[in-house]
Amino acid sequence: MSKVQEVAAAVENGKVKIVAGLVQEALDEGCAADEILNVGMIGAMAVVGEKFKNNEIFVPEMLIAARAMKKGIEVLTPVLKAQGAEPVGRLILGTVAGDLHDIGKNLVGMMIEGAGFEVIDLGVDVPAEKFIEAMKENPDVKIVALSALLTTTMPAIKDTIDAIVASGLRDTVKIMIGGAPVTQAFADEVGADGYSEDAASAAQLATKLLG
């Protein structure tokens, strides 16, 4: 097994304690940082996402895989920065106003990071103005991802999108939405660019929307 594959296996299996060391070893052996990122991190998280989608692994296993990935990213980031490498994209994420649920939103954030994005997580119960503010502060952001877990807070997704339209910034970003009660039909109705039903699909969708 090559060092990069060892890194990928450690991330997939959530071996939080050994990932940083393995990444360093891979770098020392002359592996390219972007290869470690693409295969060892992003590739491994794609496998994890797929397993989660197929009900082969449980939420905590996905969480520790993401934690393991973060340990690897910490070692890789300074190397990539020195090489002038950029994240594949930047994305704003948040649970909409009135909704305090964060577990699903956090999973989505982790998986999207796992796909190579830099995620700006605004947290939960985020008013529409705050999304717009963040978009203005980060003009290079290409995607805004909105989450809602309750049928009662789903309308806040629509309100947020309407506010983004009213602010004149709608054309600068793609908007993706998700959460337990959210459907593709709802996404079409409120004018979102995409919907995904779980965290793994969300990461795939983000990559696709960047297109």
Binding site: F58, P60, E61, I64
Partner: protein, 270 residues
Amino acid sequence: MIIIGEKINGSIPSVAKAIAEKNEDFIRDLAVKQAEAGATFIDVCASVAPEIEVETLKWLINVVQDAVDTPLSIDSPNEKCLVEVIPVCKKPGLVNSVSMEGNKVDTIFPIIANTKWECFALLSDDKGIPRTAERRLEVFDNLMVKAKQYGIAPARLHIDPLVEMLCTSEDGISMVTTVIREIKSRYPSIHVSGAISNISFNLPARKLVNMGFVCLAMNAGMDSGIFDPLDKTLMGIIYATEALLGYDELCIEYIGAYREGIIAAPAVKK
């Protein structure tokens, strides 16, 4: 949870037969299966006539330690027998058991004083099994005086608060849980143990009572027990309870035990 695997006990008819026939394969199989299920100690109890207990226990010890690396729990009501078999063990294990009856403690503690052996201790004394929590804690205090005297650290002790059958108890297990909580508050590193199935003696569907008991006892502070690690439902309840008590971050141990096939939900009959 510290698991003391109970399956190699001469009071179980199939094991008694294997002992009588010196059937090594039978004993070895029980040892391997319990080790694979995650037993911390493998108990060996001869339950034979006193004149052949030492040789029988030595035979059991050798069969088991040749088969697995798991430390042994050497189990005999006779402390003199325990003293004779300790040197046969390749690595330190658990002496099962002492109490404040007779000379048990003064016989065993000096021998294990400067070793890594652990010791199972019952809260009874020459007056029998105390009827109240206060009296049991008195016996416990007397035991800890001895432990201190011989330099046995609390973390090496497994205290059995003595669980008696539920069907004749007047207060369920509230007296026992009071004792457990008090012991753990005085010595946080001490282990509280016991045979899990005693509670359900003479009741139907005993497993249900055992499972309810183990949750409540663990909630009070029990962290060690003598039971069958091949019982996947009981093991599942124990792993689940540890997660519920917050000892298993992200339920990783629980999920791991599930993946390894150590735990399983009981089949639902309709």
